[in-house]
């Protein structure tokens, strides 16, 4: 079994490839290589801790994670602590959990922490916020930095209090002499007037589990107050003097080329600036709405591309016909040696929109030769590189600041709107905001790709899986590895990395990219085999699995659910499915009802059991699990992009249906303790088994197997009619 970390490096690589059709390939570069002195100048006084990460093996193969700085802290004269992080907050809660990690190791309470995130001038380089990596890959760096800071402070405290370090203890930012609490000095007093920088590595002594006072304790989110008062700033809330709102002329379909343009009526409108440069046609106005009116006055004719290669319905067949030779990703034994009953299945999924509530927005300002761009992006440093390249500017002359991001889910990795805003600011010399409309969001999204999975597997008369021959088209191989003990395995990927380019619009990572598709296929197939073997689906899984983490989450979910055994279809409408993703294991048990007249599936209840190693913020982790389940209802039951060739017909939430309050089930999210394991990913795993657990529950209730997501009422009815 390959390391999960490697899986992610692969995924990232694949995701970047996916971005190519739109020309959105983010180029990664080394960090800026600030010197220590530069940092200290930037930060002013106080104690500064710099942390280096050796280029981890995760990124060593394909991308150079910088060898310089990855995280740093500032402790000011009042004892307040600021943590600078290249990661961004888009709802996943790392604003709080990263602060918890620093507070724990530093020995301060959470309310002393302030976060600065995603500002390319003041934060250390980061690749991007995706792949459930902030806690498991960036978190260790934060903890090490904070631990080192505490060591520095204890040394200073020993000197100040004139006792040896081993006689001191630290509590909430105050260092005491053991046994005499009157002899003390605060972190703030020690930091006063000092400018100390220490390079540390990740091996600094960390607090142990037993000592934790902040880590592992549920914390309310530090961004709560700003978000419930409306004070939280997103990119669209930034105001700059003299700013203009831009609306950009968009083609009617992907692949269309402009053959005529008439901007005269827009130019005649008062207060309108028109920009026509190469492919970029924009109208700008000091009032957002007026810019929209001006755009409506722009006349353009377009040449549409030739006949569409495929549409919403035919995409799967097209992939199967044009998938090419494929690439072997894993092989064991010989899948041609089938013993027992052979089960052959084909599973399909559609293109998915990210549909974050905040559309892509950015505002750019060129001032004194420097371009500053406030952007809702998951990749501020990638955005900086792209802006610099597009504008032919030095990277050091470009600053990207990331305010709160209103949802990302992988869709804000490319930051095209930031590049557009920067181009327009450079051309007009004025601060320019580009705020995509919802229709633009549904057009320029980097959609999660449609996919097809073919699985041929066999089960013997003892209920043991004997072979697993797996072919995945366009979804990649994340979470595709079979988690059960199977002697003969083959895994091949088609389309995507190195394969034929087939997509008619940009595609990219969508929360746990490809994993939802692979586990929908894999865990549906397991259920099909269990039914063929007439064995209870939980028992069948346990019978074929020795992985202790897998077994543990399966049992935990089944126990909490109150699992009643019986081979499917048992008529109960209940099911179980499990996945390993982002270093975590997550099992879901669910119960559904199906309206046999309308074909509508109602998910009544979902129990999630997740082993994610040490949990930093149990409240935040459960919030992510609940969120995964709610969001997962969408791609499982209703979400699928409607298109014909490069023409996307979904333009808003009336036809692209994301889950509403009426759809949400009773959810019970359980954290399965595993304190021997470092913290793992939590933002994605629970969304991964959603397709399979619902499809399996529908089968358990009705005896009807559904092979395609989303399981719309129409498809359910058609399947029930046979």
């Amino acid at each position: 079994m390959r390391e999960h970390a490697d899986l992610h490096a692969d995924d990232l690589h694949r995701e970047l490839l996916f971005s190519e059709p739109a020309g959105t390939l983010p180029t990664t570069r080394e960090g800026l290589g600030f010197t220590r002195r530069t940092f200290c100048q930037l930060l002013g006084g106080g104690i500064v801790v710099l942390i280096t990460t050796k280029p981890g093996k995760v990124f060593a193969q394909r991308r150079a994670y910088p060898e310089d700085l990855n995280a740093y802290l500032r402790i000011d004269e009042n004892g307040a602590v600021t943590l600078f992080s290249g990661k961004i907050e888009m709802g996943q809660g790392v604003h709080t959990s990263l602060a918890q990690m620093a507070a724990e190791e530093l020995g301060v309470s959470l309310d002393k922490m302030t976060m600065v995130m995603g500002d390319t001038d003041s934060c250390p380089w980061d690749q991007g916020t995706w792949g459930s990596q902030s806690t498991r890959l960036f978190g260790p760096a934060v903890r090490a930095a904070a631990a080192e800071a505490r060591t520095v402070l204890m040394n200073l405290g020993a000197k100040k209090l004139q006792v040896s370090r081993d006689k001191l203890s630290a509590e909430d930012g105050v260092i005491y002499v053991a046994g005499d609490k009157s002899r003390k000095v605060t972190y703030g007093e020690l930091a006063k007037g000092k400018q100390i920088a220490r390079l540390v590595d990740e091996k600094a002594a960390l607090r142990s589990l037993k000592e934790f006072k902040v880590i592992g304790h549920p914390a309310k989110r530090m961004d709560g107050h700003d978000k419930v008062t409306g004070r939280a700033k997103y990119a669209g809330d930034i105001r700059r003097p003299g700013m203009l709102y831009a609306r950009i002329l968009r083609p009617p379909s992907h692949g269309a080329t402009r053959k005529s343009l008439d901007t005269s009526a827009a130019k005649a409108m008062e207060g309108v600036t028109v920009v026509e440069k190469d492919d970029l046609v924009a109208v700008l106005h000091a009032d957002h709405e007026a810019a929209g009116k001006a755009l409506a006055l722009v006349k353009a004719e377009w040449d549409q591309p030739a006949a569409a290669a495929f549409d919403t319905e035919s995409v799967g067949d097209y992939f199967l016909a044009h998938g090419g030779e494929g690439e072997s990703r894993a092989s064991k034994g010989n899948v041609a040696n089938v013993t027992g009953k052979l089960v052959q299945s084909t599973f399909r999924t559609g293109y998915l929109a990210h549909a974050p509530m905040e559309p892509h927005t950015a505002i750019a300002e060129l001032k004194d030769g420097r371009m500053t761009v406030w952007a809702g992006t998951q990749s501020p440093f990638g955005a900086r590189t792209r802006i610099a390249q597009t504008l032919s500017m030095d990277e050091k002359s470009v600053r990207v600041i990331t305010p709160f991001v209103g949802g990302g889910f992988g869709g804000k990795s490319a930051a095209n709107q930031a590049v557009e805003a920067a181009r327009l600011a450079q051309i007009t010399g004025k601060p320019v905001m580009v705020a995509w409309t919802r229709a633009e969001e549904f057009f320029y999204d980097t959609f999660g790709p449609a996919a097809v999975v073919k699985v041929n597997s066999a089960v013997d008369d003892q209920g043991k899986i004997t072979s697993w021959d797996y072919h995945v088209y366009a979804a990649g191989d994340r979470a595709a590895e079979v988690l059960y003990d199977v002697p003969n395995v083959s895994l091949k990927t088609y389309i995507g990395r190195g394969g034929p380019k087939v997509h008619q619009f940009a595609v990219g990572p969508w929360r746990a990219p490809g994993a939802g598709t692979n586990v929908f296929a894999g865990e549906s197939q397991i259920d099909i085999m269990a039914a063929a073997a007439k064995i209870d689906p939980l028992e069948f899984r346990l019978k074929n699995a020795t992985d202790p983490r897998l077994r543990k989450v399966l049992k935990a979910a089944a126990d909490a659910f109150g699992w009643k055994p019986g081979p499917g279809p048992s008529g109960q409408g209940r099911a179980i499915a499990v996945a390993s993703d982002a270093g975590a294991y997550c099992a879901l048990a669910a119960e559904v009802t199906v309206d046999r007249k309308t074909g509508e599936i109602k998910v009544k209840r979902v129990v999630a059991a997740q082993d994610m190693g040490i949990v930093i913020n149990p409240a935040g982790a459960r919030m992510q699990m609940d969120g995964c389940i709610n969001m997962g209802l969408g791609y499982v039951l209703s979400e699928e992009l409607n298109f014909n060739g490069g023409t996307i017909t979904d333009k808003n939430f009336d036809t692209y249906e994301i889950p509403r309050f009426m759809a949400v089930p009773h959810i019970e999210s359980i954290l399965v303790p595993n304190d021997d394991l470092a913290p793992q990913g939590g933002g994605e795993p629970a969304i991964v088994p959603m397709g399979a657990v619902i499809a399996n529950a529908v089968f358990d209730l009705t005896g009807v197997r559904i092979y395609r997501l989303p399981m719309t009422p129409k498809r359910v009815l058609a399947a029930m009619k046979g």
Binding site: K220, G230, F404
Partner: protein, 157 residues
């Protein structure tokens, strides 16, 4: 054509010299710098821009200034009293009724207006009433729990 438009905004008189066919959402965000009211879809389909007019939840992206003349408009910025969070706001924090926070203002205003007319709604009634407000992060359970709790703690204030 410009005209003088007056209404009450978060308890204070507001006066603007502008065209009355302009959209409330963009006037709030642009002219009045009240950016807590968010743009989400522009067609009244997501609820992110919800404000209350005379106590009734409306989508400000579908509301022109002519419709607010002489009325009482409350936005998320108007929920706090004397520097204290409204019970609904506190309940959203306590129950984790948000993640990215972008839909939160609209959720709060929709719930606030609902609690004006329905002091102690059932869970089902909350689910129905909030059905037009979209949350992509999936904070639904926390939002429902927050509204339920606030209803018992003077949420209608």
């Amino acid at each position: 054509m410009k005209q003088n438009i007056r209404f009450h905004l978060n308890g204070k008189p507001a006066s603007l010299d502008t065209e009355d066919d302009r959209t409330l959402l963009w006037v709030l965000r642009g002219d009045l710098d009240l950016t807590g009211t968010r743009y989400g879809c522009g067609e009244g389909l997501c609820g992110a821009c919800t404000v209350a007019i005379d106590g009734v939840a409306v989508r400000s992206c579908q509301t022109s200034l002519s419709q607010v003349k002489g009325k009482n408009v409350v936005t998320v910025e108007g929920l706090e009293r004397d520097g204290h969070l409204h019970p609904l706001q506190q309940a959203f924090i306590d129950h984790g009724g948000f993640q990215c926070g972008y839909c939160t203002s609209g959720m709060l205003m929709n719930a606030w207006a609902f609690l004006q007319k329905e002091k102690h709604p059932s869970r089902d009634a909350i689910v129905q009433e909030m059905g037009g407000n979209l949350c992509r992060c999936g904070a639904h359970q926390g939002i429902i729990a927050a509204i339920q709790e606030a209803a018992g703690k003077g949420g209608a204030r």
